[in-house]
């Protein structure tokens, strides 16, 4: 049963890792804008299409 001690220490450390990740994300400003990133990720893929359509107009 004493192996539980090690397991619990490991579990607290893992949880602590998540806590540090959370604190880091707050510090780096990720909690400041909770809307725009969800919009921003929609853009990149379609950019190539618009380039094609641009060349179509030119041709």
């Amino acid at each position: 049963m004493s192996v539980l001690v090690i397991l619990i220490i490991v579990s607290v450390l893992v949880a602590g890792g998540f806590l540090i990740a959370f604190l880091w994300s707050v510090n780096s400003g990720q909690m400041e804008d909770d809307y725009t990133p969800s919009v921003r990720m929609l853009f990149d893929d379609e950019l190539t299409n618009t380039k094609k359509s641009k060349s179509k107009i030119q041709s």
Partner: protein, 800 residues
């Protein structure tokens, strides 16, 4: 054929087009071409017709002041040789396409290195290379594509202030981490009687718990201790005092139990409560990022002005303007200081300052006041008083306004006082009882009472309920500054309305013609003459006739008298259009008393007058009626002349006190008078002319038709379309207290159960650990449920 502009969606004809796309104006077409050239037509795919109309675009000199180094230093946050950071407030941001376009600025101009938008704050942060694109060019580019930044004197400080409270999030994170781990480690303790073989590990668990609870006590709960301490120093027992006491007692007793090996303590309950209360506070404090409730006059004034020094135009920051300097004010620019006119042609729109509808002609040599907007051609003025001492600023600094609003503390605080007294009485009675029966139980029983009956349920109820109510009001487009506004609204008995822009709709101006009926030829002649003029009233007349399909005519002779009127010959008629005095000066007899409006004379005969009417919002009459039934006193204050008094009486009823021609100071004094007579006043207004009254009133609601327009300092911002639902919204805001009382009754029940165990000195950690989350979670969900169901019940019915 009727089309819609491909760029901005304005209805237009089919004269301007590219391939199959139609545009309302060349401005929109140019923006489209620019985006097309740079391969950014995705802008039009993401949202249909996303643009802002490019009509009436800026004059390029408008941003000349951005060349001034002093102003640049104010705006630019960080600067290297080839890199500068700047943040702009772009109120036009409204859709996905906006984000796309603004974040791809570097494709249009390579001088832009990087741009990032914040949708909810409507901000853009731009990193640019000042050697390739100047700040002025950058602003011009933004303005060209339809996102003209709002650059105002007071805004820079405001942008800096809007920072998310990171400390609060850190505290929640730490408390949540410790709470969940302590809860898990306490689990064996709850079941300790049935599981035999954990004896050795027990002490390991409890010491680890103790270690984990220290950051909760020292860091997460810090705010409660500080607030309680400052309260006590001012001899004021606020709600945080009993909470801080409960946290300390719980921690102390737990430490005692752990070190004497008599138990495992209540560290799980303690950290859980701290966690829930922090979440509650955060929930309540969620603010509306894109609004500012604290704007003062500085937010309304431009950052820079054009000064004439020996005939040359120089750009200066507004704050450096001194007396006797000559300013150049272009069309649609604001008069930035009280000044004397040097040139003719001033047509000043004071609607912002006084609420008066129509622009006023000001003759050469007269004084113009800061806050007016020049509608005519460019004028020159000499500054009489610098900004800081102008008429409108003085109003702001009025001693009547030097008072903190809603200073009466929340009703929760007295409640928590009663609660504390009752709590201490129970603790003392319990202590005395056990002293007689079994002195060994005194300490456990008394501490248990203090642990169980912490008023945190009261705090949770209040924070979550007000948070919910604020959110629901936000859904109905009423944005409150904070929860104390809701409590202040509870006490309101008098409601004061402004007329222009509040009861009427600012954007919906219409002309009403009074006089001899015009024949089609006459109308056509007037239409053709007014079409030539850029005067805003002429344009309104043009719009008035534009639906009648009038024939185009050749104008033989036209003479514009700036700020007065127009004399023209058209279709063998001599046409005079202008103010009453202008017509009289040309020898035309006007039979009735001269009114404000545009007079029309054809062949030396006065035909009639066009009057400006602001249309009243739909449903206003009904809303006033409901408010009267609910027992509110209604008052009306208007900066306008009493021309519409009869209409107002039919809409509002004859029993309402109405005051006309009120200047901002009169309005302020009127509110002050009501308050000294013991009334609690809610003021509904818009514009700078109501600013003093809004600030003075107990609750000031600023009405705006476009949330991106500037609203004066206020307690709440209401969108124009929702004014007619004011009654429902106020009723709902007042429900908050009802909900709190209901839930508080429930939490008393939990407390009674807890007390039952505590006074018998039988509060096991398990009971505490069960009671605490059950009560917290049920309180939070009940609060959400009740505020939601009330909001549903009050959903405004569609008006016909």
């Amino acid at each position: 054929m009727q089309q819609h502009c491909y760029h901005c969606g304005t209805a237009c004809d089919d004269s301007i087009f590219i391939e199959d796309k139609f545009f309302c104006c060349d401005g929109c077409k140019m923006v489209f071409q620019l985006l097309d050239e740079n391969g950014m037509c995705q802008y039009y795919d993401l949202t249909k017709m996303p643009g802002t109309s490019a009509k009436g675009v800026f004059t390029s000199e408008k941003y000349n002041y951005l060349d001034s180094v002093a102003i640049q230093d104010q705006l630019i946050q960080f600067k290297l040789v080839n890199q500068a950071h700047v943040v702009f407030y772009l109120p036009q941001i409204h859709c996905v396409s906006c984000v796309f376009l603004l974040e791809n600025l570097h494709k249009i101009n390579p001088g832009v290195l990087h741009s990032q938008t914040h949708f909810e704050k409507k901000e853009i942060k731009i990193v640019f290379n000042p050697t390739e694109i100047s700040l002025k060019e950058l602003v011009q580019l933004l303005a060209f594509i339809g996102y003209e930044p709002m650059i105002h004197l007071g805004d820079n400080d405001w942008l800096k202030k809007k920072k998310v409270n990171k400390q609060q999030l850190y505290k929640i994170g730490v408390a949540g981490f410790c709470f969940s781990n302590i809860m898990m480690l306490s689990f064996p303790e709850y079941l300790s009687t049935s599981v035999g073989d954990i004896g050795n590990m027990r002490s390991f668990f409890v010491y680890l718990n103790l270690l984990l609870s220290i950051p909760v006590l020292l860091f997460s709960a810090k705010g409660f201790f500080i607030s309680a301490f400052t309260g006590l120093r001012q001899k004021w027992l606020n709600i945080d005092a009993p909470i801080a006491l409960a946290i300390l007692v719980t921690f102390g007793r737990s430490v005692y139990e752990i070190f004497t090996h008599t138990g495992a303590g209540y560290l799980d309950s303690m950290s859980g409560i701290v966690f829930f209360m922090l979440v509650g506070r955060w929930f309540q404090d969620k603010s509306y990022d894109s609004f500012s409730f604290e704007r003062d006059y500085t937010s309304f004034f431009p950052l820079g002005v054009t000064v004439l020094v020996e005939g040359k135009e120089v750009n200066k920051p507004l704050s450096e303007i001194v007396k006797d300097e000559q300013l150049l004010i272009r069309t649609n620019e604001m008069v930035a200081a009280d000044a004397v006119l040097l040139t003719d042609g001033a047509l000043i729109d004071y609607s912002f300052v006084t609420g008066e509808n129509a622009p006023i002609e000001v003759p050469k040599g007269a004084t113009v006041f800061a806050g007016g907007i020049q509608k005519g051609r460019a004028i020159q003025v000499v500054v009489v008083k610098p900004v800081g001492q102008s008429y409108i600023t003085e109003l702001w600094n009025s001693p009547l306004l030097n008072r903190d609003k809603n200073i009466d503390k929340s009703f929760v605080h007295p409640w928590s006082q009663y609660f504390t007294y009752v709590l201490f009485s129970i603790a003392i009675v319990t202590g005395i009882y056990w002293w007689w029966v079994n002195p060994y139980n005194v300490l456990p029983a008394v501490t248990s009472v203090l642990i169980v009956a912490c008023p945190c349920s009261l705090l949770l109820t209040v924070t979550f309920t007000y948070g919910n109510v604020l959110r629901h009001l936000g859904k109905y487009k009423m944005y409150c500054k904070n929860s104390s506004v809701l409590e202040a609204m509870e006490k309101i008995d008098t409601i004061v309305f402004d007329k222009t822009g509040t009861l009427t709709n600012h954007e919906d101006t219409e002309l009403v013609y009074e006089g001899v009926e015009l024949t089609r030829q006459e109308a056509a002649a007037i239409y053709n003459v007014t079409r030539e003029s850029l005067h805003p009233l002429s344009q309104l007349i043009t719009k008035y006739f534009s639906t009648q399909n009038l024939a185009p005519l050749i104008i033989d002779n036209i003479q514009n008298f700036i700020g007065k009127g127009t004399l023209a010959q058209c279709d063998q008629k001599i046409i005079l259009i202008g103010s009453g005095s202008f017509l009289q000066a040309h020898g035309i007899v006007i039979n009735s008393e001269i009114q404000s409006g545009v007079y029309i004379a054809i062949n030396e005969e006065c035909k009639g007058i066009f009057k400006i009417n602001h249309s009243y919002r739909i449903g206003v009459a009904n809303m006033i009626k409901q408010l009267k039934i609910s027992g509110y006193d209604i008052h009306l204050l208007s900066g306008d002349r009493p021309t519409e008094k009869n209409i107002l009486i039919t809409i509002l009823g004859s029993d309402i006190p109405m005051q006309f021609e009120q200047n901002p100071n009169d309005k302020l004094n009127y509110i002050q008078n009501l308050q000294t007579n013991g009334h609690k006043v809610l003021m509904v207004g818009d514009g700078l002319n109501d600013a003093g009254a809004l600030k003075k009133s107990d609750v000031g609601i600023a009405v705006t038709d476009q949330t991106h327009l500037f609203t004066p300092a206020s307690d709440a911002i209401l969108e124009g379309e929702m004014v007619s639902y004011l009654h429902q919204l106020i009723t709902y805001a007042k429900k908050g207290k009802t909900i709190i009382i209901l839930i508080f009754a429930l939490s008393i029940l939990y407390n009674l159960v807890g007390m039952y165990f505590a006074t018998r000195a039988q509060l096991s950690p398990m009971v505490a650990a069960i009671l605490m989350p059950i009560s917290s979670i049920s309180i939070v969900s009940l609060s959400a449920l009740l505020s939601y169901s009330y909001a549903r019940g009050l959903r405004p019915k569609k008006l016909i």
